[in-house]
Symmetry: C2
């Protein structure tokens, strides 16, 4: 019988929080070192110095553990992105800043990205990809829609463009890992330019600066 909780963190005891954090940390290290396939509960528990059964006690299942690992890393990514987008003077600048922020974050945290990539490659469903993707896509769609309402962007479908942009962003860690020689700064600029051209009002004889 494991502790019940839906999403409230208040219901978790101090020990439980500490154990979960310890297990998540051990999982990240194990995945990064041995790869996802070899990261069994026995190995993760061994690294943490606890019994395998204790992992099942604190997590509903392997899915929840992996989801927590992905969520922790994803939260750091979002923080880095939003930090950069905050100072933007226009929606186009915000879009560019977000794209740059993500690509550069990936370049600066390659080891964490390796664990995340292992999860994405071997258990993306457990990694909360489906859930987090929709959150991310909806956020992007909101930004794009606002940019349209302010007359900065052309009349595309915000949701479909967000899906497309999200896919392009998710490809970044994969690309940076599989081609370590890639210049992250240039990648960031290329990607920012690509979507800037895709979303902006076509300037052919239309408006100039506001």
């Amino acid at each position: 019988m494991r502790p019940e909780n839906q999403s409230g963190e208040q219901t978790r005891s101090f020990i439980e929080q500490a154990r979960r954090a310890q297990i998540v940390r051990a999982a990240v290290e194990t995945i990064a070192e041995l790869g996802f396939a070899k990261s069994s509960f026995v190995r993760i528990a061994g690294r943490a110095g606890i019994s395998p059964g204790l992992i099942s006690y604190h997590f509903a299942g392997k899915d929840e553990l992996i989801a927590q690992v992905a969520a922790d890393i994803g939260a750091a990514m979002n923080e880095a992105i939003e930090e950069r987008a905050a100072g933007a003077r226009s929606y186009l600048d915000a879009l560019r800043a977000m794209i740059r922020g993500l690509v550069l974050f990936c370049a600066e945290h390659r080891t964490e990205m390796y664990a995340l990539r292992e999860i994405a490659e071997n258990a993306p469903a457990s990694g909360g990809a489906a859930v987090d993707r929709n959150v991310s896509v909806d956020q992007l769609a909101g930004l794009l829609r606002e940019g349209q309402e302010h007359g900065e962007f052309r009349a595309f479908d915000p949701h479909l463009m967000a899906v497309t942009l999200n896919a392009a962003l998710e490809a970044a860690p994969r690309e940076l890992y599989s081609r370590p020689e890639t210049d992250a700064g240039r990648y960031a600029e290329e990607l920012a330019e690509t979507f800037a051209l895709a979303v902006r009002r076509t300037g052919r004889g239309r408006r100039r600066h506001g």
Copy 2:
């Protein structure tokens, strides 16, 4: 001891080819019906009316079986795409035709796409995603580079644009499945327009300060 072969299909006997095809078919049906997680060798073999050991006899491992399933479906996709791109009068038209072709193919083969998506979500590495992706990316990069050399496209990095486009294309089956109400024709047009704007020469003359 299973039959050895590297990639040549000539070395495979008639029976082996038939068995492999039978097993692949059973795997596709099992994955589509029960999902990837429940598609064990025992269940696939049961559907095919054979022994589980026979699967290991004909395939080097589960990875190879899943890779074959993904490859068969992927081949059908590529065929549909290239068929459409063949009649294009320009590189921009070819790009648009490929994008439309893929999105519409996904819309017309949702059940096969379901199995492919199950694989992509649960075992993309086994699904040959890494290998096939590079092939596909290289092909796209080649097309983009040619378009640049013929003066149709602007001066982006062909490889990075191909990675981005490939990511956007791979998001299509996912999106069409998770939102069945999506108008595939409109999705195809939106995506084609997005990348047409991203790759074409900007009409405003040259870019400022390189």
